[in-house]
Amino acid sequence: MTSMLDINGKTVAVKAAPETPLLWVLRDELGLTGTKFGCGMAQCGACTVHVNGDPVRACVTPIAALSGAKIATIESLGGAHPLQQAWVKHDVPQCGYCQSGQIMSAAALLAQTKAPSDEDIDNAMSGNICRCGTYQRIRAAIKDAAGLTAATAVAAPAAQGPGKSVAANDIDDDIAAASGSTSRGVGQ
C-alpha cells in the first residue's frame, strides 16, 4: 500500500504501512536521517519535525495521521537558516545527536514568537533533551537568531591569560568578529 506525503515541499509516495511512525519512514525509506531516534515515546524530542508548522515528535506520529499535512524536517532548513548560523557561531553542538530536534523546536518557536522571553524558550525547548548539556548555548543561540543579543552581549573572551573568562552567554561579539563562520563548519 502506498501513502502520499508532503515532505519538505515535495509530494512523495511511501510504501510503509499506515501505522508506521513517520520517523522510520523518513529515516529508513526516504533516507532523511537528520531526524533522530532517541526514545520512541515522545520523551526526548530528537525526532522533532514540523507538521503544518507545529513541532511534532515523529517517533509517535503514524503516517496515517499525516495525509494532506505539510511535513518539514531539518533538511528543509538548508544550512543557512538564522538558527543554524547561530548554532555554528556559538558552537552549540557537542555530540550533536539531539541538535536537529533542538533546532526544529526552536524554529517553530521563532516562527510564532519573534522575540521569545526566557520563559518562552523554557516552554518551547523543555521537551528536547540534550545529554551533553548544551542548554545554555542553545538559549544564547536562539536569542541571537532572534536578534535579541545586542543588548546583552558582554566582553569577548581574551586569549589565554590571567583569569581568562569564557562565559558562553557572553561570546557573541567575539565570534561575530572572528567568524564569517562558514569556514568553521568545513571539515569532517
Binding site: 529508513d28 558552537d91 553542538p93 555530540c95 545527536y97 542548554y135 569564557v166
Partner: protein, 731 residues
Amino acid sequence: MNGPFETLRRPDGVSRRDLVVGATLVGGALLVGCSPADLMSAGSKVEPGAFGPFIQFDPDGAVTVLSKHIEFGQGNHAGLAAIVAEELDADWSRVRVVHAPANAKLYGNSTAGIQLTGGSSAISNSWEQLRKAGAAARAMFVQAAATRWNVPVGQVTVKDGVVAHASGKSAGFGELIADAAKVTPPEAPTLKDPKTFTLIGSDRVRRKDSLIKSTGAARYTQDVQLPNMLVAMVAHPPRFGASVKSFDADDARKVAGVVDVYEIPTGVAVVADTTYAARMGREALKVEWDEGKVETRSSATIAQQWRDIAAGKGPSDLKWEAFDSKGDAAAASAGKGASVFETTYDFPYLAHATMEPMNCVAIVDGSKVKLIHGSQAQTLDQMNAAKIVKTLPGSVEIETLFAGGSFGRRANFPSDYVAECVAIAHKVGGGRPVKLVWTREDDMRAGFFRPLVHHAVRVTLDKDGYPATWRHRIVTQSIMKGAPMPSKGPDQTAIEGTAGSPYLKATPVVDAQLALPEGGVPVLWWRSVGATHTAFVMEHTIDQLALKAGKDPVDYRRALYAKIGPEGERHLAVLNLAVEKAGPAPAAGFTRGVAVHESFGSVVAQVAEVKLVDGHPRVGRVVTAIDCGVAVSPDQVAAQMEGGTCYGLSAALYGEITLTDGKVDQSNFDTYRVLRMNEAPTVETHILPSGNPPSGVGEPGTPVIAPAVANALLALSKTPTTRLPFVRAEA
C-alpha cells in the same frame, strides 16, 4: 624469542607474530616476547602515510588530521587538530579532522596502551605526539623548499600553510607535497616555545563539526544505510545473567519485512529489512529464559548489604583492602564525644543514557570483519569481534563514526553491543551488512551502570577544628574486575578522589579501606568514574566538618590546602579564582555552596547558587574555575565545564536506576528523569593560566556540582545530604 611458539611455525607464509596472536586468542594466555600492541594489531593492513599516521595533505594543500580518538561531544577533534596545526603552521581554516582507522600500534592511547578514548586523556596523551608529528611534517616541507630553492633551511619560513623565503619565493603545502614526502622525517623535530603559540590557547580553536551537526548531515551509526543491509533487534532477558531456554519465532517471521530470527549468546535476534519491521518482529517473539544464574536482588537489598559490610556485618570471607593508612589506625576508630563526626553516604546505580542508544553496524564475510560504529575502544572491539569470528584482532577493520554521546558507555571490556552485532552478522554471513539497533528501553536496561556505592566516614577533629583522624570505608562493585589484564592493588576506579584527597593528606591519622563484594549487575565507568561519588563524599564532608568547627567552608579548605604545602597549591588557586569571580554575594534568593575536586589531572572549583523551588534544589549561576594545564581550546574547555556540570547535576538531582527482584525498573526518559532546558544552570568558566602540559577536561567538570549543591543546601537548612539523588522518583 625461542620457546613454546617455535612449534607453531608453519610453512604457509603466516607470520610468527600472527600465530602468536592466534594462540593467544585460542588459549587466552598472555605471551612474552611481543608487545601488547604487536599482538593487538596483528593482521592489520593500516599503514602510516609519508607524513606519519596522523597527517595527510590534499593536492591543494588542505590538511587532514587523523584523530585516534572518537569525537562524541568532547570537542577533542578541534583540540587535536589545533595541536598539529600549531606546530605545522597550517592555515587553520584549511584543516579538517577525520577518525583514524583502528590499529593499536599506530593509534594506541599512550595512557591506556590500547586504542581507546577515555580518562579525559585525548588531548593530554596526544600532546607531545601530535606536536612532534606537526613539527616533523613542517620540517619536511621546509627541507623540500630549501632544496628546491637552493637556500639554507634556516631561511625558510612557514606561516598559514605557506612556505616562503625572503627572496620572495613561496609555495603552498600542496605544491611541495611530492618533494616533502621524500624527505626523511626528523626523529627529534624542534618544537615551538609555547610562548610563541598563535593558535593553541586562542579563541580561534573552535569546533570543526558545528555546521554538519546543525544540519542533520553529521553521520552517526544510527544513520548508516548500506545496500542490502539488514536491521537487527534483540530480545534480551529481563534479568542479568539469564540465557535463552527456548523461543517461538513463528509469529515474528510472519511480520512483513522480517527476514530471519537467530538465537545468539545474548538473546534472540530478529533481522529485518527496516527498523520498524525488526521492532514489530521482536514484539511478536515468544522467548522463555533460563534464569538459573540470574541476579535476583533488588537494589534496596544490595544497598543494605553494602551498608552492612561497611558496618562490619558483612560476610567473613569478604576482603578489605587498605588504600590509605598512616598513623595509628586504631585511633581512627577510637575517640568519642564532641570531636567525632560520623556519617554515611549512599549512591545509586546510574545509566549513561546517551542520546543515541547503543548500536553498531557489522559486516562479516568468512573471517573478514568490518565494523562501522561509534567505537570508543577500537582495540577492545577488535579483540572481541575477532574472538567471535576467530580471526586476528588487527584484521578487524573499524570505521569510527561520531557517537551521540557515550560518557563511558561505548567502551567496556566485553564490547557488549558490538559483540552482539558481530554475533548476528556472523550468523547472517556472506558479507551482508547488519545494523543492530537498541531501543531506549534496551539501552536503559542493559546495565553497565555506574555501580551502587556506599561510603562510611568517621572523622575526629583536633583542638583547632581540623581533622585529626579520618576513617573511611568504601563498598562497591568492582568496575575493573572484568579487565583482560587486571592491575594490582585496589581498584582505583572505586577509590580515586578519596585516595589522593588533599584532606586525607592534611590529616595525621588515616585508615581508608575498600571492599568489593560481587554483584550480577554489569557496572562500568560513567563520566568522571570514581569522582562521581568520592568528590561528593569528600567535599560535602568538609563542609559538615567546617560547620561543626564553626568555620567558614572556604576558609576551612584554604587552611587544609595550606597544611599540605605545594600539593595544595592548585586547589587553593582554583578555589580563590572561583570565589573571586563569583563576587561578594549571590543573586537574590539564592544560597551559595562551594566544592573543589581534582580528577584526570585537572582541578575544578565551583561556586553554585542554589534555591529551593517546591522543595527541590534549583541551580542558577555556577562560577567555575579550572586548572587544566595549557587550555588548547578555551572555548571547548568552557563547553565541557557547561556540559559536565549539567551531566553531573542531572544525576545529582534525578539519576537513579533501581532494581526490583533483579529487574531494572526504569525504561525510558519518563522513568529515568534527566535535566532539561528549564532546569539548566548558567555556567561561567574561568581558566587558570598554566604552562603545564594539558590535563583532562571532559570529565573534571562533572563531579563538582553535586557537592556544591549539597553544600548550599547545608548552608540553607543545616541539613546534610546523605544520599543521592536529591529528588527521588515518585514511588
